[in-house]
Symmetry: C2
Subunit: 190 residues, 2 copies
């Protein structure tokens, strides 16, 4: 499954639709109409909807891994690293009220084909792992509170951001997300 132009087009649009409407909120027909290609052609690239869903999360995970490498390479300030991370989500929300792909899929969780749900889990594991590393480093540098468990704090931060995206979108108000993310980050300060 390499990425021809068509495949990329399908993935881009499908991701957008999942982020806006959820896994059960879009169909091959939606993709068909907006791409200008028949549904059977989409099935050629992604035989089942589960195949498409899985490809979506795999690519999304990879984009976050890339972001982690970028942030680690170009930013030393640990507080700024977290702010850049939060910024990834804020931009998504600003972009027509989309929320995190995996936050979205986690609500559809019980209806997902297992190959998809496994990838969603992996996303959370990887994100928490990176956040934990940043927090631990920050603790060693006496930037973040010493009396916290970095891993648990990382999980809480991620959960908080995911929830904040959902609530903020329900109000059509990105500022709500920004405020909640500030509160979550402030809780880490020494």
């Amino acid at each position: 499954m390499n990425d021809s132009e068509t495949v990329t087009h399908i993935l881009d649009l499908a991701q957008e639709l999942v982020q806006k409407r959820g896994y059960n909120g879009f169909s091959y027909r939606d993709l068909s109409e907006q791409i200008g290609i028949k549904t059977s052609s989409i099935h050629y690239h992604f035989p089942s909807k589960g195949d498409l869903g899985r490809a979506l999360v795999v690519r999304y995970r990879a984009s976050f891994q890339t972001a982690f490498v970028q942030i680690d390479a170009h930013e030393d300030d640990l507080r700024m690293k977290l702010r850049l991370y939060v910024e990834l989500f804020r931009q998504t929300l600003e972009d027509e009220g989309k929320v995190c792909l995996c936050g979205m899929l986690s609500t559809d969780y019980q209806t997902l084909p297992p190959p998809v749900s496994e990838e969603v889990q992996r996303f959370f594991v990887e994100n928490e792992a990176w956040l934990t590393r940043v927090l631990e480093e920050g603790q060693r540098a006496h930037i973040f509170r010493q009396d916290i468990d970095a891993a648990k704090e990382a999980a809480a931060l991620l959960a908080g951001l995911e929830g904040a995206m959902m609530v903020a979108r329900a109000f059509g108000d990105v500022e709500r997300f920004t405020q909640t993310s500030s509160v979550l980050l402030a809780a880490l300060e020494a």
Copy 2:
């Protein structure tokens, strides 16, 4: 729309299905089969799916208002009030991996009929209002941090709990929710 036995049965099952599978993850047929009544009979009580969805959130909001009254009446300790509130969500999660009805609906937000989405907004407003009151009272009693904005902190707590339910369920691990909720509550301590 009073609550005959049948109506209550429909609402109970529909709520369970939304909390597990989302608004677009259940159908009148699902209700029909599990209740032992034809879909046309369900349409008699709830002409459109939007009518059903709206009734669901109205009832859910009312159940939280009742919980608020109960907590305020029987518990003076402000920390305990918050713990009892968190416990409402934890029990939901423990009950077969259901998540907050409105957390669920907030991801389906862009596909909801307006009457439903308006009720979802109201749920968040009401919950934040109660939490804000508890936090403000706790600040006056010097139990919670003085350097926080109660309203913003309330929003962050609610968002954090909503997100924590989603993530915890994706791992099939209620303990994950418990840990994150502890982190969120700890951040309020003076």
